[in-house]
Symmetry: C2
Subunit: 212 residues, 2 copies
Amino acid sequence: MMLFIVLTCFLAGCLAQKPHPCSSPPLLSGDLTVTTQNEKLSTYAKYLYDALGQRVRVMELGTFENKSFTYDALLLYREGAMYEINEHDRTCKKKPLKEDFHPMAIPKDASLMGQVVLGSSSEPGQGLLVNTWTGDLPDKAGKFISTVTEFGCVPVTTVYHTEKFGWMVTSLFNNVLGIPEPDRLNPPGFCLDAEMKVEEQTDFLSLFINKP
Amino acid sequence: MMLFIVLTCFLAGCLAQKPHPCSSPPLLSGDLTVTTQNEKLSTYAKYLYDALGQRVRVMELGTFENKSFTYDALLLYREGAMYEINEHDRTCKKKPLKEDFHPMAIPKDASLMGQVVLGSSSEPGQGLLVNTWTGDLPDKAGKFISTVTEFGCVPVTTVYHTEKFGWMVTSLFNNVLGIPEPDRLNPPGFCLDAEMKVEEQTDFLSLFINKP
């Protein structure tokens, strides 16, 4: 009888290890790079991500068609507004944000492509267990292939493929749980009198793609 | 005085953490994928790597211009020979191997592009510390960008850029230290009477690129 219980627990343990779609930590910050197939875009950015307050800050340094640019945006999904911030000139543009907030997560209907170890599992500190998932983008706009860590569901790489933009590869790294600079998720003082420009609407992808 | 010693040790510790070019473990096996920019090639392979005996086995399953292929090769650099093995038909082709063995390593004159954490450093098991290096390929044939783990120098991704082939991305994963199937680094019995075909010379890159 004891053996049966032990065996059942063991089997349950094995089954529990099968990867499941997961949600990324609600507070996350770090670095990211974005490269696109057809837009000659290469971007490096620092990001802050707050799924509780539905706020995202992206501070980019990139090149588009071999010209460098900087871009700094704060997206406040609850307000339906985004701020384009120029800290050097202390100027601000406020625009409507047309899309809903999408928390970073593997959708429940995604398909597992595989689980692999980056690096090596032979010694501690030499490997990272990751799961790769694929599925359809919302509104069947295209496909995604997302790799996240098995422990913690931290994003590693996401490849988006859409008719409109071709392949776009986003890699996140140097991620930490939490927000080291919470103040950067609020509009700076010099933004408070910015008026909403209703004629220009924005969504998240276009932060990276419609340059400059 | 004690504080001085502690401070010196602390500083030495910090300096010791600066990444240095490194050699990968001499016995390594795992999986790899190769994708090329201009050849429409996508390969998945199991590999065995023995830098002590200068032997490499690559068992590929790939697609080239949307046609699938399998390819199984054993490279014996000390003998200057390679075997193309068909285990299903128990046939073998033996060819001269023209190039020298290059152990997997970051060359001493490579430049550090950066050190980052894939995943997150906030919790154990969620992150992998890696270093990315760039430099020239031998004979100035092109450039490489190589990412290896900080601990253990295990290869993660290498991007080669050559005039001839464009970009080629090699990713290694599921790596383990050691050779789980040592017998696969010796020619199978049915290969022993294979005669060397001197007219066909091969090098390592062409294992992946000159398909089918």
